[in-house]
Subunit: 280 residues, 4 copies
């Protein structure tokens, strides 16, 4: 018995659950788990974990039949269970990449790291210790456009499902962002957004004298640090913290938040809804 995940999204209406689960029942697909949500603006989202025999013909017919019963704006996907491919962009900090590599190494990440690329060479050694190809795409001596083009060529080559900005300290140009569909670029920002957007959030937090600091994993959009938030968490700080010790303390929450977000995305639990997310 195979497991597949059915993702349904459409205008809200009466009977949607009955219709979809009715087709599942007809095809003898057992529902292991189901979650659904209707937003205030009348959009319906559903994630259904199915168990059954998904031969190609049957699954195609099943999807057809589900679609035929839903509103015309429905988007229905059946996760084919292929192993996802991740590309990771970094600068110099090791903690987020290190966590991803260790998780992937120990089988705790449901994906393969197909490439690490950085604008500095700092993390090439760490990547290679885990047999992951590292590419240096320096920004020095070339234009931003040129650096991004080189990066894009690498990214296109590896055909990644998701691109993770694991403390990649470069602001992506609108052109680079537009190169990918929304939902493919995932960033970890080192503050509880929308507080401390932009550069040096720990310095901003120190200057403001906050008693909590945090991290935010979000999909990347054109607007810096304004994309749909997937996951956030915080830790407590006090007057004894400097901007530097805040940054040090924040590393744990950064890597945990990114990893939780990534796990949710890889489990097909995240829908994008306008500038927000539905995370089942």
């Amino acid at each position: 018995m195979e497991q597949r995940i059915l993702l349904t999204e459409c205008s809200d209406a009466t009977g949607l659950i009955a219709k979809v689960t009715g087709v599942c029942f007809k095809y003898s697909y057992n529902i292991v788990h189901q979650d659904q949500f209707a937003s205030e603006d009348k959009r319906f989202f559903m994630r259904t974990v199915l168990e059954g025999d998904f031969n190609a013909a049957g699954a195609g017919n099943f999807l057809q039949e589900v679609k035929s019963l839903l509103p015309p704006d429905a988007v229905v996907r059946l996760n084919d269970g292929h192993r996802r491919r991740l590309a990771v962009l970094v600068t110099k900090e090791a903690h987020v990449l290190g966590d991803i590599l260790i998780k992937a190494y120990s089988g705790a990440l449901n994906a393969d790291i197909v490439m690490v690329a950085g604008n500095y060479d700092t993390l090439s050694d760490l990547s290679r210790r885990f047999d992951v190809p590292f590419h240096l795409v320096s920004h020095e001596g070339i234009s931003r456009e040129e650096q991004e083009e080189r990066m894009l060529r690498l990214l296109d080559d590896v055909n990644a499902d998701y691109i993770v900005l694991a403390k990649y300290m470069r602001i992506l140009s609108p052109q680079m962002v537009a190169h990918f569909p929304l939902g493919k670029l995932i960033n970890i920002h080192h503050s509880f957004l929308p507080a401390f957007i932009g550069a040096r959030p720990y310095q901003q937090a120190y200057d403001r004298g906050v008693k909590i600091i945090g991290a935010t994993a979000h999909f990347v959009t054109d607007n810096l640090d304004e994309g749909p938030i997937i996951e956030q968490d915080v830790i407590k700080v006090n007057h004894r913290y400097t901007a530097e010790t805040m940054a040090k303390a924040g590393r744990d929450v950064e890597r945990l938040v990114l990893m939780r977000a990534l796990t949710k995305v890889l489990d097909d639990k995240v829908f994008i809804h306008g500038n927000k997310t539905v995370v089942f």
Copy 2:
């Protein structure tokens, strides 16, 4: 348009969601929200928030039809939306009762406090400030049986839906527990059970030198502090805490945990499953 909550519980089987939601659709009951869970031991639980026109006849037929499609061991209830009645048992500590009274007073509790009873008179003044009848049922000079009988008479008179032990520092006899169906008596214990069962948990926590203390809300069973857990939470402590300051610090988590548990119960989100709970 009225809202009702349908609670379904039965042996797990294929097609349960399709069957129940199919009947909902047939009766034009819109599903506002639905949650379901199938346990490892193959028990199925579902909570469905419905919106529609629930005239008595229609609702009865609806329930009949749902039941007819489910396994014979199915238990199906349709919350009739009546306002719940709470009785609260106390001893001397004001913080949990105070929280319940304030929440009820300000309309934040979806229930009425119909009675407070205590084995000391300490909290009668507080109860009366909120116009809630207080009954003193002292344990002094009489047998445990006699004290419990008096308490039971009071409780039977008020016809409460739930009885909340809000730091009631008496151990209930098996006879008293057996007087009520499982799920009616809710207790707040001042430790993160199963650590520190029994008397003086903060002293036990202090003696052991733990770095976190907590509170546990649970349904009451025959076995002291062993009933199904509804909600737990903890706070951090350190070497500077004495048993007394732990107790003081623990008050906030005690009242919050009880209130969260109570809110879940009043929202019909809690199923009892053996000695555990399913909390949607």
Copy 3:
């Protein structure tokens, strides 16, 4: 044996602890607890809990001697242990005031509530249930200046040590703020500042799609929501929350954060340092 708290603040220098504790030893004042902090900008703060016989003459000489050994910019205070007086300003929401009243009633607050004043009459009944005088200072039909003047007259009359804005939904004018020394006005803001400054923070949080919401207790300054932060905390939310249910869920964290801040202030644990706080 009496307990007193010595608060020392001055430019940082070598030997400050030795000097102050030396004088304590000379006067046979036992140090029960001591905390100190030297900021990055070289300001020294120390809180010393002393135990001893504090007759008026001895305590005066002691303070003199401590001062004589410290840099000329030193501010040294010896808490005289008088019971603090709190005035509470409110609008319509009961949860923060309710918590303060219950804590004061049950002896868990080391202060007296001498007055509640509100720009609506909503909470007069609740205040009176706890025998606390309530004053209606409506803003309707009069100018902001006039309303504030009436409020100030009331506040001056009661001679409060601290004025707590317990969800007082009026923005204080610079004139009103300037009427009090910095550190006397304490506000609870319903967001994790500096996110969502200003009006309707829960609506802002909902619109942004954050996964955590919070509350901030801070001293009030001229700049709206920009004063020194005393305490912050957060709770998790998700896509199922509306602005309304966020507001409801946020009530617990609002009252807890304010109460923690207030307790710290009443325990003389809070120093103001520029636009930040040192909270021992």
Copy 4:
């Protein structure tokens, strides 16, 4: 200017802080930070971070002079700032060791990992990727005594300051524990002790139906899971968790709790006090 940490422990008495800080002042050692604690059973602990010129002769005289002013049972140590050596014992799970190796690799751990030893070979590859020697000390086919003797020989050879049991799933014999001074062996246990002592704590947690699970870092003593607790933390779980998914979710809290405990120990912030700890 060098930094050193002075650790003082003795019977409580009046004037201890004045005496110690007086000597610091005399030797021109600036106090960067100081923390002290007097327990209910009248034991005094103090940690003082000093800045100054610590030539060998001066430091020796300084220590002599401090001791001469304290009660005869005083234990006074001046951390000489040498880089600590850690040995890590493991079985098969990679997450705790992986975290230690990454932290050490990226310079975030103030110590060197001099050896990893395991009763299975599973983690030899991971250790070698970070150039850390791995020793297999299998328990198969030999007696427990023999296995422990081999382990002890290895541990004695590397002269480690601390031995970290990073999910080493063997119960140490009293003989092996007695081989080391209390405070040298640090274990991470996968429950919030004292709940779920012994084997399979996640299965125990699942069976009990708790809503929080946790981890505990503690010094190892003769009594299984009963040693002085250094650090604890918890995460929330619910009815959807199985024993297996609890174990998976618990990995993050296990590695974080151990790392926090280890960091505190390496920063000389932990005193052992009977069966408890003082953690500054």
